[in-house]
């Protein structure tokens, strides 16, 4: 069985680990806070969040930064629950 893209344990990988410290950017902190706020309101729990990340198309997952995956998970869950209309976020960002 082919493993899902998020399942990284033991996957062949010789890349050195980049140990540089990275202060969270403002939008990353905001994204983190959105997940926490939705969780506190009962609109997205940790399992829904994980499933959202894990449902990302593999090539998109590989390209995305950590918090881009979180954004994808929020958008996916909120669209499924009818909080956001399909493509509403795209329209807002584009407009």
């Amino acid at each position: 069985m082919e493993r899902s893209v998020h399942d990284r344990g033991g996957r062949p990988d010789d890349a050195p680990i980049d140990r540089s410290e990275h202060e969270l950017a403002d939008w990353e902190l905001l994204t983190d806070a959105l997940v926490g706020a939705l969780g506190a309101r009962g609109l997205m729990n940790v399992d829904e969040m994980r499933r959202g990340i894990e449902s990302m198309p593999p090539d998109q997952y590989e390209r995305a930064s950590y918090y881009e995956r979180w954004l994808f998970a929020i958008e996916t869950n909120m669209t499924e629950k009818g909080v956001l209309a399909p493509d509403e976020l795209d329209a807002r960002v584009g407009g």
Binding site: R11, H22, L34, L43
Partner: protein, 212 residues
């Protein structure tokens, strides 16, 4: 709505900052939409940001330092780290189980989350970027001794290495070995030696400063 109408008190990048990725605008648009829909409020977001920036490894270090000086507390910490954190007035976070594991002369633990990034954030602050990287998530399992070597941890061949894979429901906190030469130190002095990375199991605690 422009960025200027945005009323929370955390700082924002300058508008039109060319260094920002498109995701930044996306995150802000998402916040706007979720607030407009009444799903969340500005106040929810502000409170959450306050909580996030208030988290640091100092809380985890307090737990470990107490366990180093108080054997009864250590037993309680290893039995149930959530309760032990609450006992010290610390926030153990929302995850149902927090497990503390003890490094000894014979056993060394290190923590990974191969599936994503689960981590005792309430007690250690946000996980470092490398913890979330695909290379750490992969190699911590396939070649943990080499990973430790990259982090500067030398383990004897006779030391058993246990790699703990976190889940959304179980977060791990490593209780590092108390360094030699710290016998006379106070709990606060000890806590200052206990680094974030030593509680992930990829470093030893800082050595005490030489006296005199």
């Amino acid at each position: 709505m422009s960025e200027h109408e945005h009323d929370h008190d955390h700082p924002h990048e300058p508008i039109g900052n060319g260094d920002e990725p498109p995701a930044a605008a996306r995150a802000r648009a998402l916040e706007q939409l979720l607030i407009e829909k009444g799903a969340i409020s500005h106040e929810d977001v502000r409170k959450r940001i306050d909580w996030l920036v208030s988290r640091s490894p100092a809380d985890g270090a307090r737990l470990v330092a107490r366990a180093w000086v108080d054997p009864d507390f250590k037993r309680r910490l290893l039995a149930d780290a959530r309760s032990a954190a609450l006992e010290l007035g610390l926030d153990p976070g929302p995850s149902p189980v927090v497990v503390a594991v003890e490094n000894t002369d014979d056993v060394h633990h290190m923590v990974v989350c191969t599936l994503c990034s689960c981590y005792p954030r309430a007690l250690l602050g946000p996980p470092p970027a490398w913890y979330k990287s695909t290379s750490y998530r992969s190699r911590a399992v396939s070649d943990p001794r080499r990973v430790l070597d990259e982090f500067g941890v030398e383990l004897g061949d006779d030391v058993e290495l246990r790699v703990l894979d976190s889940t959304a429901d179980i977060r791990y906190l490593v209780m590092p070995r108390r360094p030699a030469g710290t016998e006379g130190m106070s709990e606060d002095e000890l806590a200052a030696l206990i680094t974030r990375d030593s509680m992930i199991g990829v470093a030893q605690p800082a050595a005490p400063a030489p006296i005199g």
